[in-house]
């Protein structure tokens, strides 16, 4: 009896893998719920400050980066399904395409939109806040895309090492859920920045 007690003191009863999986999923969704509130706050700030107006932005660029990000979500889904069918080749291919599309999105937003938009952090006067909100919304979103890309790079590396399989794909699924979430945020941000309201302020 004494040895048994000792054993119990040092080894907590293990949690079954299925339960661990359910707990992990719930934890992730709670994190995403929380993060959604952050983006909701930014979203509300945009309507508080811009109302029914928006800055003049490059419509072609906005549409392009949006399509790029949406397509990346397809490849993320494909990567998750591939690893759930133990298809490592397709997994690696799809996840690398996702990473490339994510980088292309960031390049489009930070590399092009930030350089070419008629409002930016140097805008003076009453339209300065258009630059501020534009950079804040796209910047915070791009930061999440960046963390997503880092996460996907880790997943790609570990997939390459053969750490994932149809029985062990939680990390991939978590990465996929996060990536889709960041994508969905952009689905709200894109119309709020590019489509809704009357375009005002400086032009190109």
């Amino acid at each position: 009896m004494a040895t048994e007690t000792l054993a119990h003191e040092h080894h907590a009863p293990a949690i079954s893998p299925a339960r661990r999986f359910a707990m992990n999923r719930m934890g992730l969704w709670l994190f995403i719920l929380s993060d959604a509130f952050f983006f909701a706050g930014i979203f509300v700030s945009r309507f508080y400050l811009w109302g029914a107006t928006r800055p003049h932005l490059d419509q072609v660029l906005g549409m392009t980066v949006t399509i790029v990000l949406l397509v990346s979500s397809y490849f993320m889904y494909r990567a998750e399904m591939a690893i759930r069918h133990d298809d490592r080749g397709d997994y690696l291919r799809s996840i690398l395409i996702t990473i490339l599309l994510g980088v292309a999105f960031m390049g489009g937003v930070v590399g092009f939109e930030w350089r070419t938009s008629p409002v930016n952090l140097r805008t003076e006067g009453e339209f300065a806040v258009y630059g501020a909100i534009l950079f804040f919304m796209t910047g915070m979103h791009a930061f999440h895309v960046l963390t997503g890309v880092i996460l996907l790079a880790i997943l790609a590396y570990r997939g390459y090492k053969g750490h994932f399989s149809s029985r062990n794909y939680w990390a991939v699924q978590a990465g996929a859920i996060y990536w889709h979430f960041v994508d969905v945020v952009w689905v709200f941000f894109y119309p709020a920045l590019y489509l809704m309201g009357t375009a005002v302020g400086p032009t190109h």
Binding site: H10, F37, F38, G41, L49, A132, F136, Y157
Partner: protein
């Protein structure tokens, strides 16, 4: 080498290194190595000396390693900013931007140093790390409390002790500025210092309350649910350790001019004031990570790790309260992070969110800020009210009156908390159309709160009451929270609020809610679970003295505050007109404040001394039905040897033959309370 020599050497080496780094960083920034004011240099030397001292005691200690990591983070952040600025063709050294970037890097350095990220970093490259069980091999028992640990009880104690330390700092600041207010005119504080002290008193108290809530929740929730630990033990440790660099950042603000906005940090003042405001805001930003991740952890634990038979409506009422609190913390915290981030960005990058000249709007800050900070007060009070509901049946030997209503009233308060934020802005120039709905939603909060009061009365009614220290504190909580509750409606009603806004009446109101909703229940919980945590009893006589000082002191203080407010004293003001005839009231408030301060000191002394020398406690001194009292004290490493089963209602005290849990094959019927002899 003998230990004492290592400690002395550690201190000396640390102090010299700290001073050298200080001078070196200034030199890199192109400043003269020694400033006119040498106090920051001395502070740095003493601080790093203490780090060295701790490393001298044991090189593996997590806390000093984290502090070294934090200092390294500062240096790296400063050097990186200087480098980037010179690459961009700007002047290399800009004090504010250099320190802002460094403040974002430093907490990461701390977490790396303390070891909070080690396991996760290994997971990235696919190395499996086992869960940690028990203290590190070959180290004394106290060792694990000063470093990264995964056990929820260790983390709970870390939260609680850090919370009490911060409470001490914030309370000391309060005593200083209350002494200043003894007479009209400025006595010994400069107005800016006074403003910094009131701001810091507010925010450090809030941090301490969040830590206290985290401490109670972390220690008790897994125990009450019958879980062996939290759902995510590493995340739990991370959530605690990120609060330490955050608190350090907030306190560091003192060395950078402080800030004078009060704890609310309203724009546009926060955009224009001293640069210390950056440290406060970035510190709170990182503190938010603890709230968010800790509450996600608690929610998953509560929903997924309950003992067999424990349906939601058989959970202990404290767990309900923590669940409600966690949902607020999980979501609303994002908004204070957001609003503070926007202020830091406006200060440093000129993004004019809150500047009307740039198209912004300062009211936006208030909306974002209060969307967190009003629900936040329910974060502070709900666990405390849960403690009151938890302990009252034990000391009344009667079932909790209206269990389901109490459980759901916490949820209702949490939900309503999201719909009342603009009542802080009645005088800020919001449209009239917004004032009325917010007045009514605010009044609605009185309904679920009233449910709680009604239940407490129903519980003690015709009970067999007995009055050890925890029960005294529970009764005081109710009495004090009642002042907070009754002073609420005049502030919720628009016409009276226009008169009372920003007066000492408000100060009296929220101190009563915070004391009744957190401080008194927190001490009740500390005394009540003290024998469970330490295996020893506290000193009953000292507990009673603590209770008497704190309760009478507080009653006098908060009622006098409310009265002074009605007579026209504004909050956050360093001086008052002698013609207002309120000096006597200020003297009363200050003396009452000192009574509370001394009472708390006695309480802490009692707990510290009793933890080592108190008489050994019996297993279940209060005759509680709760599962944690059916196992030995202190609780074994993994709580329950065998999972228990819930077979009844938690609070059926006084109903013969009923049991809440079946453990090791025995139904644990209510045991009589074994009171310590006085």
């Amino acid at each position: 080498m003998p230990t004492w020599l290592r400690i002395v050497l550690g201190f000396l080496i640390g102090a010299v290194l700290g001073a050298a780094v200080f001078v070196g960083v200034r030199a890199v920034g192109g400043l003269p190595p020694l400033a006119d004011d040498l106090r920051p240099l001395y502070a740095m030397a003493v601080f790093s000396g203490l780090v060295g001292l701790m490393l001298g005691i044991d090189r593996q200690l997590g806390l000093p390693r984290g502090l070294v990591g934090m200092a390294t983070g500062f240096v790296v952040g400063i050097l990186a900013t200087v480098g980037i600025r010179s690459l961009m063709g700007l002047t290399p050294w800009d004090t504010e931007s250099v320190w802002v970037v460094a403040s974002f890097v430093a907490p990461i350095g701390f977490l790396l140093g303390v070891g909070a990220l080690s396991d996760w970093l290994r997971w990235i490259v696919g190395i499996h790390t086992p869960d940690q069980h028990g203290p590190p091999p070959g180290k004394p028992g106290w060792f694990r409390y000063f470093g990264f640990d995964q056990n929820h009880k260790v983390i709970g104690i870390q939260y609680t002790v850090t919370g009490i330390l911060l409470m001490g700092i914030a309370g000391t600041l309060a005593m200083i500025f209350r002494t200043e207010l003894l007479a009209p005119g400025m006595q010994f504080l400069k107005p800016d210092t006074f403003n910094t002290f009131i701001s810091m008193h507010g925010i450090v108290m809030i941090a301490s309350i969040l830590l206290g809530v985290g401490g109670m929740a972390n220690y008790l929730v897994p125990l009450m649910l019958g879980a062996n630990d939290m759902a995510f033990p590493r995340l739990n440790g991370f959530a605690f350790w990120i609060t330490v660099p955050s608190a350090i950042l907030i306190i560091m603000a003192i060395f950078f001019g402080g800030w004078d906005t009060g704890w609310t940090g309203y724009a546009p003042l926060s955009v224009r004031t001293f640069m210390g405001v950056n440290f406060f805001m970035i510190g709170m930003f990182f503190f938010g990570f603890s709230s968010i991740l800790g509450s996600a952890n608690l929610i998953v634990t509560t929903l997924k790790m309950r003992a067999p038979g424990m349906t939601l409506f058989r959970m202990p009422i404290f767990v309900w309260a923590v669940l409600a609190t966690s949902f607020i913390q999980l979501t609303a915290t994002q908004f204070i992070g957001l609003s503070f981030l926007m202020v830091v960005l406006e200060r440093n990058l000129g993004m004019g969110f809150f500047n009307t000249a740039l198209g912004g709007d300062p009211l936006l800050f208030q909306h974002l800020f209060w969307f967190y900070s009003h629900p936040a007060v329910y974060i502070f009070i709900l666990p405390g009210l849960g403690i009151v509901s938890e302990l009252l049946p034990v000391f009344s030997r009667k079932p909790l009156f209206g269990y389901r209503w109490i459980a759901l009233s916490s949820m209702a308060i949490a939900l309503l908390g999201f719909m009342v934020w603009a009542h802080h802005m009645f005088t800020a120039g919001i449209p009239n159309a917004l004032r009325l709905p917010f007045m009514y939603t605010t009044m609605l909060v009185a309904v679920p709160t009233g449910v709680k009061f009604f239940s407490w009365l129903g519980t003690v009614w015709r009970g067999k009451l007995f009055f050890p220290t925890p029960m005294l504190f529970v009764l005081a909580s109710i009495a004090v929270f009642l002042i907070g509750g009754l002073t609420g409606p005049p502030l919720a009603t628009v016409p009276t609020d226009l008169h009372l806004h920003d007066s000492y009446f408000v100060v009296g109101h929220f101190h009563a809610t915070m004391f009744g909703g957190f401080v008194f229940p927190f001490f009740a919980a500390l005394y009540y679970w003290f024998p469970k945590i330490t295996g020893r009893m506290y000193n009953e006589r000292l507990g009673q003295i603590h209770f008497a000082l704190q309760t009478t002191g507080f009653y006098i203080m908060s009622l006098t505050m409310a009265r002074t407010g009605l007579l026209g004293m504004r909050r956050r003001i360093a001086d008052y007109d002698p013609a207002m005839n309120i000096q006597n009231l200020h003297i009363i408030m200050t003396l009452a404040g000192f009574a509370i301060f001394i009472g708390v000191l006695i309480g802490v002394y009692n707990l510290v001394v009793s933890a080592r020398r108190g008489e050994v406690a019996v297993m279940n001194p209060w005759g509680s039905r709760s599962p944690e009292w059916q196992i030995p004290s202190p609780v074994p490493e993994h709580n329950y040897e065998e999972p228990f089963e819930v077979v009844g209602n938690p609070y059926d005290y006084g109903l013969p033959g009923t049991a809440y849990v079946r453990m090791n094959g025995h139904e644990k019927t209510t045991a009589p309370a074994a009171l310590p002899a006085h």
